[in-house]
Point group: C2
């Protein structure tokens, strides 16, 4: 008890001073990344909340997902902070809409964000949890879900493939990457494609591995 006073020693927190590996170690960062995803999405032009909500799946985000409610809320907040400016588009035969574009302040924020260090990503997937536990639960439903996931992944690869072809126009990939004016979306799209392919292949491989055992096990019963 020689420690008199002993007031607030933040460095005592073992979780903040990651000891061994702690893959990636997040140096804090401002969290809130949906806002940046939205800003990035609006680099492609003016969009309304509704349009983003529809397009968020395919375009900006093989790497960010958000429900419409979140998008609307985020758009409102960003506008309030002056990072976006919105304007009303009057339409005939359908409701008017508000479209948004990135302001100077918005660009500055994106720049700040891009320069800040990133925390690492992880997969976080229900299905993987199920596979992890597959030896202790009935395998059949897990196999069914793996098959389904493989099919979904295949559908996505097709969509992404088309998107990539559209983005690069009539150039081949190498030339596009050298000379295109906007390659960011192409690069991310490529990541999405690789991910979906991997997912599909892994799912099918896992199905094979499990299905074989199932029949073996059944004989033993």
């Amino acid at each position: 008890m020689t420690e008199r006073g002993a007031e607030r020693k933040p460095w005592r927190n073992p979780w903040l001073k990651p000891p061994v590996v702690r893959w990636g170690g997040g140096r804090k960062g401002v969290t809130m990344a949906l806002r940046h995803a939205v800003l990035a999405a609006l680099l492609d032009g003016e969009f309304s909340g509704y349009q983003l909500a529809k397009g968020f799946d395919i375009g900006v985000a093989n790497f960010w997902h958000a429900l419409p409610q979140q998008l609307y809320a985020e758009l409102a907040r960003l506008e309030g902070e002056g990072l976006l400016s919105g304007r009303e588009i009057v339409q005939e035969g359908r409701p008017n809409k508000r479209v948004f574009q990135v302001t100077e302040a918005g660009f500055a924020e994106l720049e700040r964000f891009a320069a800040a260090s990133a925390k690492p990503s992880f997969i976080r997937d229900d299905l993987l949890v199920k596979v992890q536990a597959v030896d202790d639960v009935p395998a059949a439903p897990v196999i069914a879900q793996l098959r389904e996931r493989a099919a979904v992944a295949e559908a996505k690869t097709e969509v992404l493939g088309k998107l990539l072809r559209r983005l690069r126009g009539d150039l081949d990939e190498e030339e596009f990457l050298r000379t295109g004016r906007r390659i960011g979306p192409y690069l991310t799209c490529r990541r999405g494609l690789a991910f979906e392919r991997e997912t599909r292949e892994w799912c099918l491989w896992a199905v094979e591995s499990l299905a074989g055992r199932e029949s073996v096990r059944r004989e033993g019963e």
Copy 2:
């Protein structure tokens, strides 16, 4: 206004009845998947919260991430619900600990979860957002982060590679998958490995693509 009364028409919600693609379409599910990740992690044996917090990165979860605080809270809840049972381990020279194992009810819950349909996963990664915006912000810091991420991914591939070798012992993969008693962790680990490899390759490819342009652009300045 022929709709008299018109009370509560839930089917009117366009977000619940996904219109076009809406990749995967989540059929609800009970959310709360951390609990199942914890249950799955404890299939490998008894662990304390601390052990899980350390090991969560490498073992169970290339596919689920949680802070220690969350783990402790979840463990307590699961024990309260009877899905886990904990017991105190008295230790010398260090604090005692409480380790947990899955109860019958826990197995039942896992089984229920495994049979329920999974919602699709998405990547959700800060770095991808930055790459998406890379044409409109300085590329240098983004490139630096891509390099760093590639290095992290490489480190992970090595750890996972070792883990895989340990899991399959002296069998080769095919034989292990046919005859091993517990292949779930092996399968998920394999997924993690593929993911990290892909990540690394993509990062390096993106760096190349961007670095080349940078020098081109600099000449133009």
